[in-house]
């Protein structure tokens, strides 16, 4: 149970970073922290105490297998996360070129 609560705290740390930081790159890092906490939660769900990898050997079956499904899903989600982070970074570099700053308070052309 502690692990789940730690995941949740990590999620909130990321959310705090997204809300309070002013630097674009720090916002991106905070988003990555949130992302990883979600992945961690997902991977923990598949964990079984003392479980082994789910390659079933009929002659010598193990007592507990870990659930392989969340691992596959997290792997897929990591690939998506790679794409999102790359996209965000490209946007940040472009923004820096246009505005000459990473400070989000200076970047406010759009309002209303």
């Amino acid at each position: 149970m502690t692990a789940y609560i730690l995941c949740f705290i990590l999620f909130l740390v990321g959310l705090y970073g997204v809300i309070t930081r002013r630097n674009l790159v720090k916002i991106a890092i905070s988003l990555s922290v949130m992302e990883l906490s979600t992945f961690l939660l997902f991977a923990l769900i598949g964990y079984a105490d003392g479980g082994v990898a789910p390659i079933v050997d009929p002659s010598n079956p193990a007592k507990v297998y870990v659930d392989p499904m969340p691992q596959a899903l997290v792997l897929t989600a990591i690939v998506i996360g790679l794409a999102t982070t790359a996209m965000l970074m490209a946007t940040i570099i472009r923004l820096y070129r246009k505005y000459g700053t990473f400070d989000i308070r200076e970047i406010k052309n759009l309002k209303g």
Partner: protein, 512 residues
Amino acid sequence: MNPLIPLFVAIPLSGAFIDMILGRFIKGFSRYFTPVIILALASMSIYSAATAGTNPSVYYVGGWEPVKGIPVGICMVMDGFSVLMLCIINIVGFLSAFYSISYIKRFTSDNFYYALFCLMTAGMNGVVLSGDLFNIFVFLEISVISAYALVAFGVEKNELEASFKYQVLGSLASFFILAGIALIYWKTKTLNIADIRETLKPGYDRPFYIFVELLILSGFGIKAAIIPFHAWLPDAHSSAPSPISAMLSGVLIKAAGIYLIIRLFFNLFEINESVAVLITTLGALSMVIGVFLAIGQWDIKRLLAYHSISQMGYVVLSVGMGMILISRGVRHEIAMLAIAGGLYHLVNHAAFKGLLFLNAGAIEYTLGTRDLKEMGGLGKSMPATSATSFIASMSISGIPPFNGFFSKIIIIIAAVMARFYFLAFLAILVSIITLASFLKFQRYAFYNREDAKVEKGIKEVPFPMVFSMVIMSLLCIILSLLAFPGIRDAILTPATDILTDPAKYKDLVIGI
């Protein structure tokens, strides 16, 4: 098994990469190839609507059929509601792609534009077809990542800032959705929508259930820009190139947001009254606040974007009313009417809002500005744009011969019959304010300044743009036929049936 179902994803996906490869060697290849493949998809979806609407089908990818009523593989479901969404996506997609042929000439690197366009279409087709929570998430991300890139396609200050805002909020939404999926998987050990409903039923754990519902609702609420989560929408939709604005506003917020809210809250969760009331409240709020935010705008595309929030409020409101009635277990036929009205408005909104964004693009293409104060007198020099935008404006404000009137009147009648008099009053009020706002748009853009001050050299836009706008305006008129009983039974009733009767959906997916 219907072999068309996976092709809806495979064709645009491979089309995107063929564009990238051959477009490099043959100049202008992707510009003409993309409309062709999306036209093929559109005709496939119309064919499916004619055949699969009453006769839904399931596709087990890789041939993994369910074993003893437990689904083991990934399944794709084509039922009445998915077919409706497929038609919207591919028809609006085709018209936007065709419109882009001349519009996109002012940008460089159109190969990337068309590849991203195809990827977005593939993602949305995947979202509406998959019957599996995690696949929905993957396809959703494909479509929204392409949308992020397309919003930033102009790479100027405004576009980049809008895209950054959209990306931060969109990523937050994705994490909420992923956390919701993780929690659902924890309880049920399955990801199939129909199977989840079966597994959740015996161990009904109310606080957990409500928590997951709120996570999912806020995630998809951000993607659909319902009112407390709307901050990104006006920036993103007004900064994108105009055909993309038409796609984003006409299709993406529906496929990635509203469709999934409706699908999951009817077919995955048990409908309970507190969540239904919450959804109705959110819908009413975004309907009212959206229109009040829109009325003070002078930038055409921002004005249209705020109206998107408001019109989506109508859809959410009427679907929410249906959910309240179903959860109370009273008067099923009025609930059906409310849901049908919501879906009908969803279809209509795709037609008229897509058309309005294409009009805005045409005005921007000739004048180079989006500020209403700098326009005027375009009615004479651009007759096609003026006429089509008049049809769309009357349609969105609910004036009788056009489609918007019929869907709004169905929603209002349903609200009155269900004795939600206050909501009916709000719907009428918002409709009147919408009319006022669009009269302002018409007057300042097309009719003001009759005297002289029209600059010389303003011509009608090129043929592909005119063609798309005329077809869209014909759709605005033809879609009003959907209100009449015979046609409504063939198209809208299968969609409402599959939503209100989860047992039917379960039988379809898992088999009996």
